[in-house]
């Protein structure tokens, strides 16, 4: 089997004999090394969350977010190469505002996700461009229904009840499968997600990290907004204490 570095990986315009495009695979690898991100479709809305390492004590808390609003009702979280993800978000915002200018209506989450996917796919076709090293999760409300999508660097887009990406995605995947999502609200989910994200950190717990969350739900009147910081911190601390207690075997 042809492995890396055998000449088939120099450009997205080349297949290898097994039919893989290595540059796209490498871009997907970049997202697997990023901070864990989670999307959960709960009973009354969708929660998007992520965690990242904080490299230095000098960095201001709450700066450098990677949860973004795209329209008032649609939000996104990104992982992998963050500047790549940010530029996709900027494109998504443009698509959304042009759509509403042209059609006089808010863009549906399905249409926006498709536009984002097509945009990312474009960058896998030409030798002069490199694929985005970022996975994007989009969540939005449309006509009393909440929709969750994930797009990876190959431009593949799928709709989900729940999705994970990044370093801790496997651990979080197993934890999510234990939950009954139809029964919990986004407010309940904040606690569960904090637990998962903290548990999934492979490095020692001493490394500083920051959790970022946004939700679109009945509670937020169908708008995508950041989860209130005090509430999120409260749940984070509760999750941390609960995990430590379980580890001590109480």
């Amino acid at each position: 089997m042809s492995g890396a570095g055998t000449g088939y990986d120099l450009s997205p315009t080349t297949y290898n004999p097994e039919g893989r495009v290595f540059q796209v695979d490498y871009a997907i690898k970049a997202t697997e090394n990023g901070g864990t991100i989670i999307g959960l479709k709960c009973r009354d809305g969708i929660l998007l969350a992520g965690e990242k390492n904080v490299v230095s004590r000098m960095m201001m808390e709450g700066s450098n977010k990677y949860i973004f609003g795209v329209t008032k009702e649609i939000g996104a979280v990104i992982t992998g190469v963050i500047p790549d993800g940010k530029s996709v978000i900027m494109r998504a915002r443009q698509e959304a505002s042009q759509y509403s200018e042209f059609y006089g209506q808010q863009i549906k989450p399905t249409v926006l996700a498709d536009r984002v996917a097509q945009f990312m796919y474009l960058f896998t076709l030409y030798g002069g461009l490199r694929p985005f090293g970022s996975t994007i999760m989009l969540a939005g409300k449309y006509q009393n229904d909440y929709r969750l999508f994930m797009v990876d660097p190959s431009g593949a887009m799928f709709e989900y009840y729940s999705c994970t990406a990044g370093k801790g995605s496997q651990v979080c995947r197993t934890e999510i499968d234990k939950l009954r999502l139809e029964d919990i609200t986004v407010r309940d989910a904040v606690y569960h997600v904090c637990r998962m994200l903290i548990k999934s950190r492979e490095e020692t717990r001493d490394k500083r990290y920051e959790i970022d969350m946004g939700w679109v739900s009945e509670e937020s009147f169908g708008l995508f907004v950041p989860v209130p910081t005090e509430f999120r911190k409260e749940m984070e601390n509760k999750a941390k204490e609960d995990i430590e207690r379980e580890e001590r075997g109480e």
């Binding site: 977010k65 949860i67 609003g69 505002s97 950041p226």
Partner: protein, 229 residues
């Protein structure tokens, strides 16, 4: 390169009146869009909300008003999705749109409107007059168009900073009635809207009563200066 010259307005709204009162700003327009001298659309709104922060009313070209609403609502959305704890208020929108209007005026391609914008800036009620030239004036009460001549003297005589909503409504309705008597492009179906610290609220439009059998109208020919006796 876009080339366009000023055209005269085609579908127009007449006056807007707005006053500061105890809870915020109260604004009123009639619900008429005129096609020259034809009263073409008699039940259209000439006021709009931009998010929760701003109430805007316009006279002049109706399509330009729709464009201004679209521009400002997009700005409001762009600000909201930043989620940075900062929100644009009526003063920001007023400064922005007046700069846009000044720039277009200098290129000979104006947005043919006079706008009144109300909201709160630094927790204080804010009311601005903005026109097609790019003029931007703040005040305790404002009017546009014909109402400068007809309604403003009435408002100016009785305005106080501590008007209740009822008192402000009565005062403005006085101004709207005289416009119906004297402005050939006005209508007797009016709508009130207010912006308070809780946001923007629109009242249902209604038709007010008017008396065309007044002695002074009927006996106009008894005026000693009437030239046709």
């Amino acid at each position: 390169m876009e080339k366009s010259a000023t055209v005269s307005p085609i579908l127009t709204g007449s006056s807007v009146i707005a006053v500061k009162y105890s809870d915020g700003i109260l604004m009123c327009t009639d619900t008429l869009a005129s096609y020259g001298s034809m009263a073409m659309f008699k039940e259209i709104p000439r006021m709009a909300a931009i998010g929760k922060s701003t109430l805007i009313g316009a006279s002049g070209e109706y399509s330009d008003f729709q464009e201004i609403i679209r521009i400002l609502r997009q700005k409001d959305t762009d600000d909201f999705i930043e989620h940075d704890g900062i929100t644009l208020n009526a003063g920001h929108f007023a400064s922005y749109i007046s700069s846009v209007m000044y720039g277009k005026r200098n290129k000979g391609n104006p947005l043919y409107n006079s706008l009144l914008m109300g909201g709160f800036v630094n927790s204080q009620p804010y009311l601005a007059y903005i026109d097609l030239y790019g003029t931007h004036i703040l005040g305790d009460y404002h009017v546009t168009g014909f109402a400068h001549y007809i309604s403003k003297p009435i408002i100016a005589a009785e305005w106080r900073p501590d008007l209740t909503e009822e008192e402000a409504k009565i005062l403005i309705e006085k101004g709207m009635k005289v416009l119906w008597y004297r402005d050939a492009r006005a209508s007797d179906r009016i709508q009130f809207a207010k912006i308070t610290r809780n946001g923007v609220e629109f009242d249902d439009p209604y038709k007010f009563n008017s008396d065309w059998d007044q002695e002074s109208f009927k006996n106009y020919s008894l005026n000693p200066l009437y030239p046709y006796n």
